[in-house]
Symmetry: C2
Subunit: 177 residues, 2 copies
């Protein structure tokens, strides 16, 4: 069905925007487990802009692969804005890409708390300008999604692609003004 | 639909087999781009046995994340049995898991050659026994799948889960004889 949809799916739009801005992306995925990387690589030619996905499910993987601090994990919990921020920046920096995207959340059905119910997710988007300019930005948004575990995973992955697309487009607009 | 299928899907069977044998797994995915990690984490409680997925799309990612040799990439090509072998063993060793699973193939629609047409994939499965026993094994199988890019990706991911399940079950049978 997807191939005949009226609008191109987000992974294609992201791919076009990255290619047109000569940019690359890496992901650090916890609750999505690789789904964003899989969606991005559904698009033929995605090796032009997709470098790697780091599916950092365990604490160890978060620390070893994208440099999340043990202290932050212990004090804030893995599902938190600071961890999403470190994951996104860590994906960008370890892969040497323009963009880093991260997800950390609770896909359920268990693991929810009153403060962070099932469906809670933090999505991080990190950017780095040309090497040497020193310009880096990282933003984090919090969302809550309903649904089954698989629906929540899919919604989180789609939201992350949408957040990345918005960020790429905003930057492109600023560049071309 | 999946939740009501007569047989549990492969990712659940693999999960049960890993949990029952007190084993863990990490993946190194090229053509599947994270889909195996995503399928494994579709199962609630998968953090018991799933450590990380390394979606090593670029040459750099293959070398940096799972220690594939530059020489092997240059001489054999990224889609080859030796690279699948190094990826599977590298995933297991860098993550410190019992099992490592790797895919490297051509999802298409372009990129095929007479020797390696679109749909060609090498699936590697690596095992390590208890630390100190020195027992390691890595096997690689070559497959060719038909279909669209998305169908080929899905078939490769399912085949890799099936190969992992077979290997876990074979080892369990040997252990309990």
């Amino acid at each position: 069905m997807r191939e005949f949809a009226a609008d191109p799916p987000a992974e294609e739009q992201v791919g076009d925007a990255l290619r047109e801005t000569d940019a690359t992306v890496a992901t650090a995925e916890s609750c999505t487990g690789g789904l964003i990387g899989s969606l991005l690589t559904d698009v033929p030619g995605s090796s032009d802009y997709f470098d790697r996905a780091l599916c950092t499910y365990s604490y160890d993987a978060k620390m070893e692969l994208v440099g999340v601090d043990r202290e932050t994990l212990d004090s804030e919990g893995a599902v938190s804005a600071p961890v999403a921020r470190q994951m996104a920046a860590g994906a960008r920096d370890t892969a040497g890409t323009t963009w880093g995207v991260a997800t950390t959340g609770i896909a359920g059905p268990s693991g929810g708390t009153p403060e962070k119910p099932v469906g809670t997710v933090f999505v991080g988007v990190a950017y780095r300008g040309e090497w040497g300019t020193g310009e880096t930005t990282t933003t984090v948004e919090r969302y809550e999604f309903d649904g089954t575990r698989l629906e929540i995973k899919e919604r989180i992955a789609r939201q992350a692609l949408s957040d990345l697309l918005s960020a790429v487009e905003r930057r492109r607009y600023r560049r071309t003004r």
